[in-house]
Amino acid sequence: MIKLKLRKRTREVDETSRTNNSLGLMFWAAVSFLAVLTFCAIFADILPFKNPTQTFKGFNKNGPSGSFLLGNDGVGRDILSRVVYGAQTSLVIAVVGTSIALIIGGSIGLAAGYYRGKVDRLLTIMLNTTLIIPPLILFISLILFLDPAAERRMFILIFTFALLSIAPIGRVVRANTMAWSEREFVLAAQTIGARNGRVMFREILPNVAPSLISYSLIVMATLIIVEGAVAFLGLSVPSPTPTWGDMINKGRPHLDVAPHITLMPALSMFLTVLSLNFIGDKLQEKFESKAAIL
């Protein structure tokens, strides 16, 4: 008995320095960065950004300057506005892809974790099937076989990314659901005769949601990197629509003479992914320690 107490106490001790109610300056820095980026991406058309596809004659490979804050790329386009519009592409793909995966993977995970037994086994097999083909390879085959002409690339990107994220999200939800459905209040709800659907959505889901949200952020970060990789191979949304991976790829020939062309989109991607991961981590820590207190 005393042992248990002691352990719990040391655990709290460890976490004080990190979670201690406030989430820390870094967390808010990350949130602000994402907020600014999202704001710019959403209102890019209204905000005074230059046309991301317009090439400015005589400005090719120029470094940062007064009128082009992040400089110009290999054909004189404004890197700042391309970074912002690239964020649009990345965020749309990541957010929509993750949302679809959340809905599908979440439902599967919830049902599998709640009903257990045969339902669980069947759904788990379904989830695992999507893991069979390595992600990038699956995506590339889809591109090649479904649409080599790049016209519906965005759709395929989102579809594939959603497909790839279903299994990880489903697994997290399943595990969480299993843990929560053991809790007293769930059992209580079941004993007073609440319908399964109601128990799942009213009792379990709200409790699973916090960790699910923080995990989704990490999934989004992953999707942004994968989109970058796909664009780097020249297979993402067709040019000249700006995407970060494409900008990095096209900056590659100029890396030794104008590194900023590669650096700027790479940095944006780095900061976005870092922020998402960081926020996800922090939230998870916080929800976990809360759950532990319960």
């Binding site: 008995m1 005393i2 042992k3 107490k5 002691l6 106490r9 040391t10 709290e12 001790v13 460890d14 004080t16 201690n20």
Partner: protein, 355 residues
């Protein structure tokens, strides 16, 4: 406080504090005692009374982060508090060893038990693999494990709870320690197995002329098994006496309460923890006065105002911390007063008003 000349372990004013979000938590508060070679000491107290933390503080096994320990712990005249981790490691095993509460958790689930027993021997005694193995075999036999040759190569999950604790004991005994600290060695075990394990520890202690600190929440466990008993409450020693003296003439109301909570035949064993009404005090912001006062049936205003010192009783070696010791006239008066003003009910139990 006077210390015997042949003391193996002397603890002086030991204080352990945890740095928690809520403030500084004092788990062990100024504990002093000594233990002679070959003697055994029972440490008794409820959950949260600081006995486990104390035993770890003595071993210096507590993690360093956010934990402060003060005072001195002299073991064979060396102050453990001043020893470097390297030197401590040399003591652990051959000089002092520890047995923990949870026999399954104490064994590494992915290492064969033979290896776990032999490990200390390999590290401290410089045994070869083969020597260590045969020594481990001997140890397993000594702690009463049947078919030890076969079982050396099994994993902990393949053993029953009692067997596991025997293995833990074998591990602790492996390097012939002079001091064994057993921290609630039987709590997680069945009642029938409890006695076997305690007998085993006792038997081994006698054979090896080892000193023993037996930590438990169950006064019944130490009754008749240890030379001395030390009762702890809220991180302090509240009573200490040779076993016979204690049982014959206990002074502390808390000890009395503990004694009453020893499982009786008619009561299932797991209910004993609930048998002292009320909760141990908050160790972060402890009340002034006697820490047991809120739960004490003899409590008087003085107890709440002022904390009693640890004082000697008439019988030699008997210390206690109470203004109204059990069995004295003052305590009888106090109890009568409390019954009169309704603090204590007819059966002698303290009436608790929830706040």
């Amino acid at each position: 406080m006077k210390v015997a000349e042949d003391a193996l372990l002397e603890v002086d004013n030991l204080r352990t504090q945890f740095d928690t979000p809520g403030g500084l938590l004092t788990a062990v508060d100024g504990v002093s005692f000594s233990l002679s070679k070959g003697k055994s000491l029972g440490v008794v107290g409820e959950s949260g009374s600081g006995k486990s933390v104390m035993s770890r503080s003595i071993m210096r096994l507590l993690p360093k982060v956010n934990i402060q320990t003060e005072g001195t712990v002299r073991f064979k005249s060396r102050n453990l508090m001043e020893l470097a981790p390297r030197d401590l490691r040399k003591l652990w095993g051959p000089e002092m060893a520890m047995i923990f509460q949870d026999p399954l958790g104490s064994l590494n689930p992915v290492v064969k038990v033979g290896k776990q027993v032999a490990e200390g021997l390999r590290v401290h005694s410089g045994f070869s693999k083969k020597e260590a193995r045969s020594e481990a075999l001997k140890l397993l036999r000594e702690v009463g494990i049947s078919e030890p040759e076969r079982r050396l190569d099994e994993y902990p999950h393949q053993f029953s709870g009692g067997m596991r604790q025997r293995i833990v004991i074998a591990i602790a005994l492996a390097c012939q320690p002079d001091l064994l600290i057993a921290d609630e060695p039987t709590t997680a075990l069945d009642v029938t197995v409890q006695a076997q394990i305690l007998d085993l520890i006792e038997e081994q202690r006698n054979q090896r002329n080892m000193s023993l600190i037996l930590v438990t929440h169950d006064l019944g466990v130490v009754a008749g098994r240890t030379d001395e008993i030390m009762v702890m409450y809220a991180g302090r020693i509240v009573e200490r006496a040779p076993t016979k003296v204690l049982f014959a003439n206990m002074k502390m109301p808390y000890t009395e309460a503990l004694l009453e909570s020893i499982p009786k035949l008619e009561r299932p064993s797991h209910s004993h923890l609930l048998s002292i009404p009320g909760q141990p005090p908050n160790m972060i912001d402890a009340p002034r006065g006697c820490k047991f006062a809120p739960r004490c049936k003899y409590v008087q205003d003085r107890c709440v105002e002022e904390e009693p010192e640890l004082i000697s009783a008439a019988t030699p070696g008997h210390l206690y911390r109470c203004f109204f010791p059990v069995g004295s006239a003052e305590s009888a008066d106090a109890l009568a007063r409390n019954m009169a003003n309704g603090k204590v009910d007819e059966s002698g139990s303290r009436v608790h008003i929830r706040t």
